[in-house]
């Protein structure tokens, strides 16, 4: 088989060196009753050509190539070819976690740059090397807040991505972290501060909000932070549209737990993406996941290494800050390449273009909420959203996300997203369908 670099003669030679005469003997230690006594019921291996053919046949069954107005946590942004050129280099693609610093400085320095840029974007002091995604970063942040405050309760805004909230519930369930939700203002689509205020109490470890929120609307994070702090709770700030950081004032949150998919990470039917958690200096030792730090080698050269490992499972086992081990390094590298390519000017211009595109579409339709929105908004089509989408599909456009599924009270509305990749002509077609 092409992936196995041995001839049968070499196999025999090696078996002989082991004092064995048959490959079977290698498995003698497995008792018969534990052995599979038949071949696997899987077809024989196929050629590369057939593999390529097969996945092409699957790919064409998907809508990947059509213009689309779906956002809702996963955004279509252009991926500069440099990104894949970099992550395709075997030295990045096929290396392991950089435990051996002396032959991993490449990966280590890219993570150090990643951590730095996340701090610059979020206004935090320290960021970890990545989490699985935004949805798992949020519960990890909540657990972190509980450790920091010694409190258990979490208050999460209903305008946070519904699936993030579901994951939070799954994680919280057995850690006695009671999770309660607070509402949004039916007018503005922003969080309902009275509801939040009412639910805040001395048991609450953290208040969790997302901005732009699931409706695409920018929240007043500072105000929320003040309110949370006034009750001794921490503010956890999450985001799923990272491009917004190019233009939005960073929150003065205590913990930022977000999703970086917008940074040159393809939608890929929902993953792999890259989550991240950033926080303030004083909370660093409560961070989950890997951290890269700067130090020097015995010759005094600048060097990098994984650090503060005493937080982690391989050292601390059941007392670690999290059970995470493998993270999303290569995907975080995509984001790193993207951010360095776009840089200071580029990220801002990109954000401004997204803003302009979405507001053009917004100006042609009727946004449901009055709050300021970034690159997506809730629209009220005249007809059933599903019906509208069917019509759009006839013009080979993938429409928006009907919201009833997640927000029964928003039945009849749909979430529409526009990015720098959305063409005006397609937006005009959507406007028509919504007219």
């Amino acid at each position: 088989m092409r992936y196995l670099p041995k001839s049968d003669a070499e196999r025999q030679e090696m078996l002989a060196a082991c004092g064995l005469t048959s490959a079977e003997a290698l498995f003698a230690q497995i008792p018969a009753e534990a052995r599979l006594q038949r071949p696997l019921d899987l077809a024989a291996g196929i050629s590369e050509y057939e593999i390529a053919d097969y996945f092409k046949s699957l790919a064409v069954k998907n809508a990947g190539a059509l213009p689309s107005f779906l956002g809702a946590g996963v955004y279509r942004h252009y991926r500069p070819v440099v990104v894949d050129a970099v992550v395709s280099r075997g030295e990045f693609l096929t290396s392991y976690t950089p435990y051996q610093s002396e032959i991993s400085q490449g990966t280590l320095m890219t993570i150090f740059e990643f951590q730095t840029m996340i701090c610059q974007l979020t206004g935090m002091d320290a960021a970890n090397a990545s989490m699985y995604d935004g949805s798992t970063a949020v519960p990890e942040a909540a657990m972190m807040a509980a450790r920091i405050t010694g409190r258990r309760g979490a208050l999460v805004a209903r305008s946070v991505h519904p699936e993030y909230r579901e994951v939070l519930r799954t994680y919280a369930r057995y850690q006695n972290l009671p999770v309660e939700e607070f509402g949004y203002d039916a007018q503005s689509g922003q969080i309902d501060f009275t509801d939040l205020d009412a639910k805040l109490n001395a048991e609450i470890a953290c208040v969790i909000l997302q901005s732009p929120n699931f409706f695409g609307i920018v929240e007043d994070a500072r105000k929320a932070a003040e309110l949370a702090h006034s009750k001794g709770a921490l503010l956890i700030f999450t985001f799923s549209e990272a491009v917004s950081l190019g233009i939005l004032e960073p929150p003065n949150a205590d913990i930022v737990a977000g999703e970086l998919q917008s940074f040159a990470i393809s939608p890929s039917y929902g993953g792999p993406f890259a989550g991240v958690i950033a926080t303030k200096e004083k909370f660093v030792r409560q961070l989950p996941g890997r951290l890269v730090g700067q130090t020097s080698d015995t010759n005094g050269n600048r060097a990098f290494c994984l650090t503060l490992a005493t937080r982690e499972q391989h050292i601390r086992r059941e007392k670690s800050t999290s059970n995470i081990c493998t993270n999303q390094a290569l995907i975080a590298l995509m984001a790193t390449v993207f951010l360095e390519l776009y840089g200071k000017q580029g990220l801002r211009e990109l954000a401004t273009q997204n803003l302009a595109k979405a507001h053009y579409l917004g100006s042609l339709t009727r946004p449901r909420f009055t709050g300021p929105y970034f690159n997506e908004f809730v629209a009220r089509p005249p007809a059933e959203p599903a019906e509208v989408n069917r019509r759009l599909l006839d013009r080979s456009i993938v429409g928006g996300l009907p919201l009833e599924r997640f927000y029964p009270e928003l039945a009849g509305t749909m979430l529409l997203c526009a990015t720098e990749m959305t063409k005006r002509a397609d937006m005009d077609l959507v406007a028509e369908a919504l007219a």
Partner: protein, 490 residues
């Protein structure tokens, strides 16, 4: 004598922020085809940020050079043997990268209508089928993003199942040879950890196990073959002991590379397990991730699997969200789909017989290393091993040289080190897993290197203690890094 590498200049490179100068750009956007919008007007002044302090400003060519240069500071599978025990660093086939980037797959949106997602869903369906057949279990979820995430999923499944039986119980048993994620996971799931010591064969001691298993035990987390590379010969009895008390057997499948096609956890009593697609199924580690940690279960645990579940209705695939007993969601969307594509491509390439042959070669390589190195390094457990072998530095430490030092010296010889100081039950462990994608030539070079280092330790331990000597970065001061953490550039 070092035969595998020679020294050559590698480019230095500054941290990107030091290359930056105001006005350099590496991007261009298409002209805006809609009216401009004033951010302050649209979002409110208070919400609009000033420019991002310290953010880089460089050109495209500098970005390409930056990362190309950095890449040359890394070791990688593409360069040679990467014998990290427990990590299964095998060759990552390039076709897998190609198919994962097909537009229809890479640009599929998780919320696009199901009738426009049948191709992506077929990937999940075929992978689920294949993995069930390989594990011998009845149902599987592809949601978990990595092994530890799979462990948490699995233990939450155990908990939900036991709860449905009326008692979630309090304890999870974890052998002292287990990976750190096991106890960390059980704790995260709200269980108390009870460690159980391995016997002189590096296996779970039946008598001791029987003694601790009671109605308070929710599950045993067993790694099989365990982290010593030893198959738990009594696994069937172990399962009986737990099942007898209504407890479940969770298997950490990180070492499936020793079993695929040879033995199936479902056939030897395992109730629930995770797989590491980024180990057994060749998806690239990428410097730390991404991974994939599907969790397979027996029928009785199926109702509790995370939502949504892939289902078929009227000849089409659909996502089933109506799962009243489910533990809920483990993450947004459906899993690390791009990783699933790669794993399926790998399984299709090998096929059933091929997976078995790969397992044979993986175990053969590890046994070959054991036989060749045993005369030179201490073997704390000298029974037969499967896909990996664990030595100890007992002999070398007599000269003051520890496993970590031998590892650094290996770097001078052109190899990535083995896993250092794990499993914990072996004092000064050298944990070596070659995988099946290593040629005899490469293994022989590694054996020569190890033997040569053993000799060097006899003659000049000091030299080994100061290694590596040939790398662009000499030994790194990790202590200061932790004492005075510098976690970002300023």
């Amino acid at each position: 004598m070092i035969r595998k590498v020679r020294s050559h200049p590698t480019q230095n490179e500054d941290v990107i922020f030091e290359r930056s100068s105001p006005g350099k750009i590496g991007y261009q956007l298409p002209p805006l085809d809609v009216p401009e919008v004033d951010p302050a007007a649209a979002l409110g002044n208070e919400h609009v940020r000033a420019s991002i302090d310290g953010f880089p400003e460089v050109s495209e060519v500098e970005v390409i050079r930056h990362f190309t240069r950095l890449s040359t500071w890394n070791y990688a599978i593409d360069l040679g043997l990467y014998p990290l025990g427990s990590c299964t660093m095998k060759y990552n086939p390039r076709i897998n990268e190609a198919v994962a980037r097909l537009e229809g797959l890479a640009w599929a949106h998780p919320y696009q209508p199901e009738n426009l997602s049948q191709g992506a869903m077929e990937v999940c369906a075929r992978l689920e089928e294949a993995l069930c057949e390989i594990t011998g279990l009845d149902a599987i979820t592809l949601q978990p993003a990595a092994g530890a995430h799979g462990e948490l999923t699995g233990i939450l499944l155990v908990r939900a199942f036991l709860e449905s039986q009326g008692n979630a119980r309090r304890k999870v048993l974890v052998p002292d040879s287990a990976h750190g994620t096991n106890p960390a996971t059980a704790a995260t799931a709200g269980y108390a950890i009870h460690n159980i010591a391995s016997n002189e064969h590096g296996m779970i001691d039946l008598a001791q196990l029987a003694a601790v298993v009671d109605e308070d035990v929710a599950a045993l987390m067993v790694t099989n073959p365990n982290t010593l590379g030893v198959f738990e010969a009594n696994i069937v009895k172990i399962a009986e002991i737990l099942h007898a008390k209504g407890a479940l057997v969770y298997m950490d499948g990180a070492n499936m590379n020793a079993l695929a096609g040879m033995a199936r956890p479902g056939d030897f009593g395992v109730d629930v397990m995770h797989l590491n697609l980024h180990k057994t199924f060749s998806t690239p580690h990428g410097g730390g991730g991404p991974g994939g940690g599907p969790v397979a279960v027996r029928k009785h645990l199926e109702p509790f699997l995370p939502t949504p579940r892939l289902a078929r209705s009227a000849g089409a695939f659909t996502w089933d969200y109506d799962r009243p007993q489910s533990i809920g969601r483990m993450r947004a969307y459906y899993g690390n789909f791009g990783v699933l594509v790669r794993a399926l491509a790998y399984i299709l390439a090998h096929g059933g017989p091929g997976l078995r042959n790969a397992t044979v070669d993986a175990v053969l390589n590890a046994n070959y290393l054991r036989h060749k190195l045993a005369p030179h390094f201490d073997l704390p457990y000298d029974g037969p091993n499967m896909h990996e072998v664990v030595f100890s530095d007992e002999r070398q430490s007599a000269k003051g040289v520890r496993t970590g030092d031998i590892a650094k010296r290996l770097i001078d010889y052109g190899f990535h080190p083995y896993t250092v100081s794990f499993p914990l039950i072996v004092h000064g462990a050298l944990m070596i897993e070659p995988t099946e994608t290593e040629s005899k030539q490469e293994l022989d070079l590694f054996i020569d290197a190890m033997i040569s280092i053993a000799k060097e330790i006899e003659q000049d331990p000091q030299m080994v203690l100061q290694s590596p000597h040939t790398t662009r970065t000499s030994r790194v001061d990790e202590v200061t890094a932790a004492r005075k953490p510098i976690l970002r550039w300023r």
